[in-house]
């Protein structure tokens, strides 16, 4: 019979011991990330197919995006993954204040990502009439490929939009975690919620790692034009 007083805080009684609980929690988050791969995957699949069919239009669309913001956002997210990993590390070595500061930094970086995206990129695209369904204007200089350029922007907004929704959810998770960490809920014996949320956060980073080249770097930007 298990002796319940020996179990650390956070132990759930359907499990036999903490080890089983940790492994189940981790596996559970990975299975969830697998479903997220397939969820985003539908959009990636559509993107790949239409890019194969309408490459010139996708190149035009891609060149209309601003690489500097995409690259900056990539750096912001990579930094946030570092701070998230360091937050978990702090819990592993029992540093409560460091945990909290790293979690807050991660949240701020996530918010910065969203701010850059919504104000500098999306708003700019809206003003330039590049948002399908919201006054999209096909420009004559796009030529014959012009009628398919809205397709690129559909994928741009749907994919970065879905990614942004996941970021917002992530920031929400981090808020809860920060409060818990501040209250000293995490320690070297029990930091599973941090680890598991870290997996989610890194996954959202990985999605962006693929979105950046696929959306911003199509067809090259070399001087002399694309092919």
């Amino acid at each position: 019979m298990t002796v319940h007083s020996a179990h650390p805080p956070g132990f759930a009684h359907q499990f036999e011991d903490m080890q089983q609980q940790r492994e189940a929690g981790s596996l559970g988050m990975w299975v969830f990330l697998l479903t997220e791969i397939m969820f985003f995957g539908g959009l990636f699949a559509g993107y790949i197919i239409y890019r194969a069919l309408y490459l010139p239009a996708f190149e035009i669309g891609s060149h209309l995006l601003e690489v500097q913001f995409g690259a900056l956002n990539t750096a912001v997210l990579i930094l946030s993954s570092l701070t998230m990993a360091l937050a978990i590390h702090s819990a592993q070595v029992g540093k409560r204040r460091a945990q909290v500061w790293f979690l807050i930094t991660t949240m701020i970086l996530g918010a910065a990502f969203l701010a850059i995206k919504f104000t500098f990129e999306w708003h700019h695209d809206y003003v330039e009439h590049l948002v399908p369904g919201f006054g999209f204007i096909i420009r004559p200089e796009w030529g014959a490929a012009g009628q398919h350029v809205p397709m690129f922007f559909c994928f741009y907004f749907f994919m970065t939009g879905l990614h942004a929704i996941h970021m917002i959810i992530g920031i929400g998770l981090l808020t809860v975690l920060t409060v818990m960490a501040h209250r000293g809920r995490f320690a070297p014996e029990y930091y599973a919620p941090l680890e598991v949320s870290g997996l989610y956060w890194h996954f959202v980073d990985i999605i962006w790692i693929f979105l950046f080249p696929l959306l911003y770097l199509i067809g090259g930007r070399y001087i002399g034009g694309g092919h």
């Binding site: 940790r22 299975v31 194969a52 990579i78 993954s81 590390h89 890194h202 950046f212």
Partner: protein, 111 residues
């Protein structure tokens, strides 16, 4: 999931590598490599993903089970893309066989 504590130095090293790769992929986009541009961009993205997965997500220190699950996701996504492309890209192929494909109707003339 592991109790393995990854040293802070390693995390920072991975972070620097990721930043360098981001700069690399952005820089390579400004060089004309033809179709290889896409290959390079995707290859760099895969390397970045592996760094995040193996070190930030601790998969290097995890069991086989999780690696199988990740591979399953990639595999089934590849199935979705490949089979759909098999349709989309062959839509306008000529229905009349040419080349080696002509053997079938030719044979059926004699049998």
């Amino acid at each position: 999931m592991s109790d393995h504590v990854v040293p802070v130095k390693l995390y920072i090293g991975i972070f620097v590598a990721l930043l360098c790769l981001t700069a690399l992929t952005t820089g390579v986009a400004y060089i004309d490599l033809g179709a290889f541009n896409t290959v390079a961009a995707l290859a760099i993205a895969v390397v970045k993903m592996l760094l995040v997965v193996l070190f930030f997500m601790h998969v290097k220190y995890s069991g086989r089970l999780i690696q199988v699950f990740i591979l399953a996701g990639v595999l089934f996504l590849a199935i979705l893309v490949t089979f759909t492309l098999a349709d989309e890209l062959t839509r306008h192929w000529s229905p009349t066989p040419t080349g080696w494909g002509m053997i079938v109707p030719l044979l059926s003339r004699f049998f």
